[in-house]
C-alpha cells in the first residue's frame, strides 16, 4: 500500500480532535491503541462516538469495558466487526454478538502484536508456534521448524488513533510508563496515524535518543484535553 506523504507546507499539527478526525468515513478499518484503559486515545474516541459514521472494523486489544473507552462506539452501534485479543467483562459487546450485529475475531496477543508490526515494517508473512493445535490454527498453513508453526499475515488499518504523553510537531512521540503497549505498532501499520498528546512540544522538544516512535510514522497530531486517565482496577498496599 502506498503511504500518504505530508507536503512540507502542510503541518501535521491540527487545532483540535474534530479537525484531525473530520475526514473519517463509515466502513473504515480503525486501530485504537491502549491496553484496557491504559494509554487509550480518549479524545479521539469521544469525537468519533459523536460522528455520524458507522460500519467500522475496530482493531484493538480490548473493545472497552462498562461503557468506557471503545464501548462508547459499541453503545452507538458504530462497530460492525471487532478484532481483539480479550473481550471479557463487556456486556455491550456480548449483547451485540448475540443479536448478530457484531462479529468478533479473537487473535492471540503476541500474534496480534506481531501482525500489526509486520504491516508497518513491510514483512509479508511470518511463522509463529502460537496457536498450533488450537482453534486459532483452523484454516491456516502449518510448517515444521524445530516445532510446528502457523503462517500468519500482516494486520493493517486505514486509520490508527493513539495517545502519547508527549509529542513534537513532527510527530516524534514519547510514551509514559506502560501506556506504550500497541500504540507504536499501530502507528506504523495504519495508513493515517492520528495522535493525541498531553504535552505538545516544539520540534526537537524530545531528545533524539529518547524518541520512542519517530515522527515519520505519524500523519496528524493534536493537543489533547481533559483527560480522565482512569484506573481500571486499583490495588494498593495495606
Amino acid at each position: 500500500m502506498s503511504r500518504p506523504t505530508t507536503p512540507r507546507t502542510r503541518s501535521k499539527v491540527y487545532d483540535s480532535a474534530h479537525a484531525a478526525l473530520a475526514d473519517l468515513t463509515s466502513g473504515i478499518r480503525l486501530m485504537s491503541g491502549g491496553f484496557g484503559l491504559c494509554g487509550i486515545p480518549e479524545n479521539s474516541i469521544d469525537v468519533i462516538a459523536d460522528m455520524p459514521i458507522g460500519n467500522l472494523t475496530v482493531i484493538s486489544n480490548n473493545i472497552g469495558n462498562s461503557g468506557r473507552g471503545l464501548a462508547k462506539l459499541l453503545q452507538r452501534r458504530q462497530v460492525h466487526h471487532a478484532i481483539c485479543t480479550y473481550v471479557g467483562g463487556n456486556p455491550d459487546l456480548e449483547q451485540q454478538i448475540l443479536n448478530g450485529e457484531i462479529s468478533v475475531e479473537l487473535v492471540p496477543q503476541g500474534t496480534f502484536s506481531e501482525r500489526i508490526r509486520a504491516a508497518g515494517l513491510g514483512i509479508r508473512a511470518f511463522y509463529t508456534p502460537t496457536g498450533v493445535g488450537t482453534v486459532v490454527a483452523e484454516g491456516k498453513e502449518v510448517r515444521m521448524f524445530d516445532k510446528p508453526c502457523l503462517l500468519e499475515y500482516p494486520l493493517d488499518a486505514d486509520v490508527a488513533i493513539i495517545k502519547a504523553q508527549r509529542g513534537d510537531t513532527y510527530g516524534n512521540l514519547w510514551f509514559k510508563e506502560a501506556a506504550r503497549n500497541f500504540s507504536p505498532l499501530m502507528a506504523m501499520a495504519a495508513h493515517t496515524t492520528i495522535v493525541e498528546v498531553e504535552e505538545l512540544v516544539p520540534l526537537g522538544g524530545i531528545p533524539a535518543e529518547d524518541v520512542h516512535l519517530p515522527g515519520i510514522f505519524v500523519q496528524r497530531i493534536y493537543q489533547g484535553r481533559n483527560y480522565r486517565n482512569e484506573i481500571e482496577i486499583l490495588k494498593v498496599q495495606g
Binding site: 484496557g36 491504559c38 473481550v87 492471540p108 496477543q109 506481531e114 482453534v135 510508563e177 506502560a178
Partner: protein, 219 residues
Amino acid sequence: MLGQVIDLFTPGCSVNLGIGLPTTILDVLAQRHANDPTAPDLDMFIQSENGVLGVAGRPTHAEASPTLINAGKETIRVRPGASFFDSALSFGMIRGGHIDFCILGGMEVDADGNLANWIVPGQKITGMGGAMDLVHGARHVVVVMTHFTKSGEAKLKEHCTLPLTGMHCVHTVVTDLGVFTPGNGRFHIRTLAPGITSADLNIPAHLLTLEDSGHASTT
C-alpha cells in the same frame, strides 16, 4: 501451593505471572519478606505482557498510576532496574525464549503436557489474551491450579476435553495436592502434599509414575 511455585524460582530469574491466581504470588512474597526481612531477596525480574519488566507488587495510594498496570489491569509498582517497552517486544521476549518461568492458571492439563485454560464451550467467550503465546518460549512453563473441579473431577487428565491453549507445552503442574511433570502419556509425581497419597489424586494409576527412586518424596 503457591509456596511450591516460589520454591522453583532461582535468584535473579525472570518470571511472567498470569492474571488471577499467579499474580497473588507477589502478595505471598511480600508477606514472606514482611515476616522475615533478613531472608535473601530472590531479586526476580517479573514481566507483564503489556510491556513491563520489573513488576514489584502493589503501589501505595500515592504511587498508584493509571499508566502503571499489569496484565490484569491492576495498578502496580516497579523495582529499580525496571523497563517499559511495546507489545511486540514484550511478546518477543516471551516467544524468543528469554523468560525463565511462565506461571499460568489452568482448567485442564493432560498427560502429554497439553493445556486448556482459556474457554469453556457454552460459557461467555472472553478471548485468549496472551495465554497462547505465553506457553511457547518460556524455559519453564508452570501451571498452578486447584487439583479438583467444583464437581470433584481431577483437572489432570489423560486427554484435555476443553479447547486447547497449547500443545506439549507444560513442564510442571502444581496443585494443592502435589507437584507433577506431565509428558509421554504420564504424570510423574515429584512431590505430594503432606498426608496425601497417590490414591487421593483421583487419577488412574496407569497415568501416574513416581520419581526414578521409586518413591514419591513428601514435603
